[in-house]
């Protein structure tokens, strides 16, 4: 075991300044945990050599599961024996990341019993991340987690742990119950989450309104964004209050509206709701005066991804408006139709968005059984893919 504290001059640089430092936090753990000590040593060495000394992948996991554990090894095991195997757990977070302090302590205790004690709350997909498990501790730690009601999240070519914004639990803009939808989808697709059967990952993300606090439009293969169908609710009295308190409604609100569908005459705000693209700008500026409409549901968008192999993609609207009521059968039907087609014809490591680009949106829609409609836009007022056959025929005839 590496008992000594090593000199880490390069990491020490990262402790300077007023902000929190991951180095300082790892050092605290290193006082009692040898894995944390060797982590510091190896990371310092990586900075010296300007190369990562971690290797990923391989044959690690817990019995029956194909996801949730990411194999990680040191390529300098003799020098840093405590981190020779340093696997990562993805633990499925509760919807909206709500915890009691008691359960947070329980999670930390479990992790101190079985691993490095280092966590990352949370990973970019949303999971609770436990960093650094030896191979022999994988099963015992998993047992401990499940005994306390937790389960692993997704990794590899499967449904990744769905995530949701805090939604109606704390936010007045929520147009549907993001927490319930996320929880329902997570439970429905346990098999798809734990048993990788897809060409690549598939992410669900649930945002309660177009502010999209979980960045679903940019990061998820199926993005569910709360929206309303009717008119923005206006409290004219409160609008006047904003004006009296210094908000320049003409410049800060009306002129910033992307479709210029608002007008302010000094006493009354009017909105041409047919031209509102639900960007949330006006509501965010005057939250006391404006609210989303009353007919609420969600827009379903498909095909976003962050840049890994190819470039980034934003999602495209597939279903402009859906009532979001349990048991969410429409969403499930759509997801399963997509998995069926993409699962069979997608290439290894090809995300749904890339697959759509390869086969064409028109063909994709036909295969999953959705009729093209004008609202299937890449972004407001832009529909670059769909050709309406009737119109083409008419043009040809003309």
């Amino acid at each position: 075991m590496s008992e000594k504290k090593r000199a880490t001059p390069l990491l020490d640089e990262l402790k300077k300044g007023p902000w929190p430092s991951f180095v300082r936090e790892i050092e605290k753990s290193a006082e009692t945990n040898a894995m944390a000590r060797d982590t510091l040593g190896q990371v310092e060495r990586s900075y010296e050599d300007k190369i990562s000394h971690w290797k990923h992948g391989g044959l690690v996991g817990v019995m029956g599961y194909g996801g949730g554990i990411i194999g990680r090894y040191s390529d300098l095991p003799e020098e840093y024996p405590e981190v020779a195997a340093f696997h990562t757990y993805r633990v499925n977070q509760p919807s909206g990341w709500f915890y009691t302090s008691d359960i947070l302590r329980t999670l930390c205790d479990i992790w101190e019993r079985h691993g490095s004690g280092l966590t990352n709350m949370h990973g970019s997909t949303g999971d609770i991340i436990f960093l650094g498990s030896k191979t022999e501790e994988l099963e015992p730690c998993f047992r401990d987690l499940t005994e306390h009601g937790f389960d692993l999240g997704g990794s590899g070519s499967d449904v990744r742990t769905p995530s949701a914004c805090v939604g109606p639990a704390r936010c007045e803009w929520a147009c549907y119950d993001t927490l319930d939808a996320c929880n329902d989808i997570t439970h429905t697709y346990q098999d798809e989450l734990h048993r990788p059967a897809f060409p690549y990952k598939f992410k669900f993300k649930f945002s309660g309104c177009p502010n999209d606090c979980v960045a679903s439009i940019a990061r998820s293969d199926m993005s569910v964004i709360g929206v309303w169908k009717d008119n923005i609710q206006i409290d004219q009295e409160k609008v006047r209050e904003y004006a009296a308190n210094g908000t320049d409604i003409e410049h800060e609100v009306c002129q910033m509206c992307p479709t210029q569908c608002m007008a302010w005459d000094g006493t009354k705000l009017t909105i041409d709701n047919a031209n509102c693209v639900k960007c949330m700008h006006c509501i965010n500026v005057m939250p006391k005066a404006l609210r989303p409409g009353k007919e609420r549901g969600a827009t379903i968008l498909i095909g976003a991804k962050a840049p890994i192999i190819g470039g980034a993609l934003l999602a495209t609207v597939f279903v402009p408006f859906l009532e979001m009521k349990p048991p969410y059968d429409d969403i499930k039907e759509l997801a399963e139709a997509i998995w069926d087609f993409w699962g069979e014809y997608g290439k290894n490591r090809e995300r749904v968005g890339e697959f759509i680009q390869r086969v064409g949106l028109g063909n994709f829609l036909e295969e999953i059984g959705l009729d093209p409609i004008p609202e299937m836009v890449a972004h407001p007022r832009t529909n670059p893919y769909i050709f309406f056959e009737d119109e083409l025929e008419e043009e040809e005839d003309a």
């Binding site: 029956g64 194909g66 069979e344």
Partner: protein, 82 residues
């Protein structure tokens, strides 16, 4: 050929994983397509194959691996067997 049982499909999948071990990485869908080809689309479908893969993994005969994608392979102690 009549409809094979889940066990029969799982056995056929296992044979395929063993035969290709070290030569080709197989994904769940590769196994499914191979079984549909072997037994015929009338006899097996994706659902049956899903159950067979579950049987294969839960019995410990195969495990999932990750090498830039998730594959189904033999557990380390069986690696010489292919």
């Amino acid at each position: 050929m009549g409809q094979p049982t889940v066990d029969e499909v799982a056995n056929a999948m296992f044979d395929l994983v063993k035969a290709t071990h070290g030569k080709k990485n197989l994904k769940a869908m590769d196994l499914t397509k191979a079984m549909i080809e072997k037994f015929g689309a009338d006899a097996v479908d994706k659902k049956l194959c899903k159950l067979a893969i579950r049987q294969l993994i839960d019995s410990g005969r195969c495990i999932y691996s990750y090498f830039g994608g998730s594959f189904i392979t033999l557990p380390p102690e069986n690696e010489g067997g292919g």
